[in-house]
Symmetry: C2
Subunit: 167 residues, 2 copies
DNA sequence: TTAAGTGCAAAAGTTTTGCACCAAG
DNA sequence: CTTGGTGCAAAACTTTTGCACTTAA
């Protein structure tokens, strides 16, 4: 678990600095409910509303930095742009299933996959930062609509969020 | 393995059409060396050079369609934008390790992960289209440079491709 | 014939950057 | 002090769309 202090220490080790902006962003991710992830813009608006506005450029720069440091994980699910969440170690580590038809996302845990990733990385002499198994699949609703036969171009199942289900 | 004919059949089943553009794009992916993936723009330029120019809009539309049909897989590795490759079934199915420092990508196979994905998807009542284990790690070169301590903002290991290694 | 698909150009987003100013260490 | 970080505004890209024209079936 990352604290402000460990973030500070790690930044200092690289000659970087702990700024209020970086602390705030770290805290936002730590207080995020499990399973929720934010895009750069989500984060920007959330802070704007809290009256702790941070510029979009700084948010982009910080997310990139924290991803590279292994503090957050960059998710590329079905959304148009990247989303971020805290890079938690087991047992909070998880993976995602995304419906290729409606973009709905389901989280799941799987210890075996993590073990495989650890093996794989050791075998190649690297050091693990994060592993994400992303499964693309078709959800029951889409199957019952007749997939793959008769799904129309812009069909989305009832549970799909607005604007996310369209092709 | 997809052929022009099976593509045609599947498109027809949905009331869609097989166009020369869709055929060409499918062929490009089928002739792509294993391990190579293309961005929308890569594909556009490649076809441009071959004198079979297809408009960028059509390329974007086709990639989205083929992803949703499960014919190609959308990769989000370290590059700025999405890359695509043919969605091959076992034994050609594979996963990726990406170095968080230099963005170099390594492919690997792992049958266990695929099995886990199949289980997971069945458990949830979905139908599998693709599964991708993406591992973020730090490569030996970066470790020998002292990671995580002293890697500079824009360091990239010697093997990193131009312009991909910078933060 | 006729609905789907394409190309073009314009629009809409997202992400990055240069630069002057600010502030952590 | 010194150098890294921030904010702003502009630039650079990527992706999507409206529309008139083609074309597969």
């Amino acid at each position: 678990m990352y604290t402000s202090d460990s973030l500070k220490a790690e930044l200092h080790a690289k000659g970087w600095r702990l700024t209020p902006q970086r602390e705030v962003i770290l805290q936002v991710f730590q207080n995020l409910p499990k399973g929720k992830h934010l895009s750069a813009d989500d984060l920007y608006e959330l802070l704007e509303k809290r009256g702790e506005g941070i510029s979009l450029s700084t948010i982009y720069r910080t997310l990139k930095l924290m991803t590279r440091m292994g503090i957050v994980r960059e998710l590329e699910l079905a959304e148009v742009h990247k989303h971020y969440e805290l890079n938690r170690t087991a047992p909070n580590h998880h993976h995602h299933i995304v419906c290729a038809q409606c973009n709905r996302t389901i989280e799941f845990d799987n210890k075996t996959v993590l073990k495989q990733a650890i093996n794989q990385v050791e075998k190649s002499g690297l050091e693990l930062i994060d592993c994400q198994l992303t499964i693309y699949a078709v959800c029951p609703e889409a199957i019952s609509e007749g997939f793959p036969a008769i799904i129309s171009d812009n069909w989305a199942c009832s549970r799909a969020k607005k604007s996310e289900g369209k092709l």
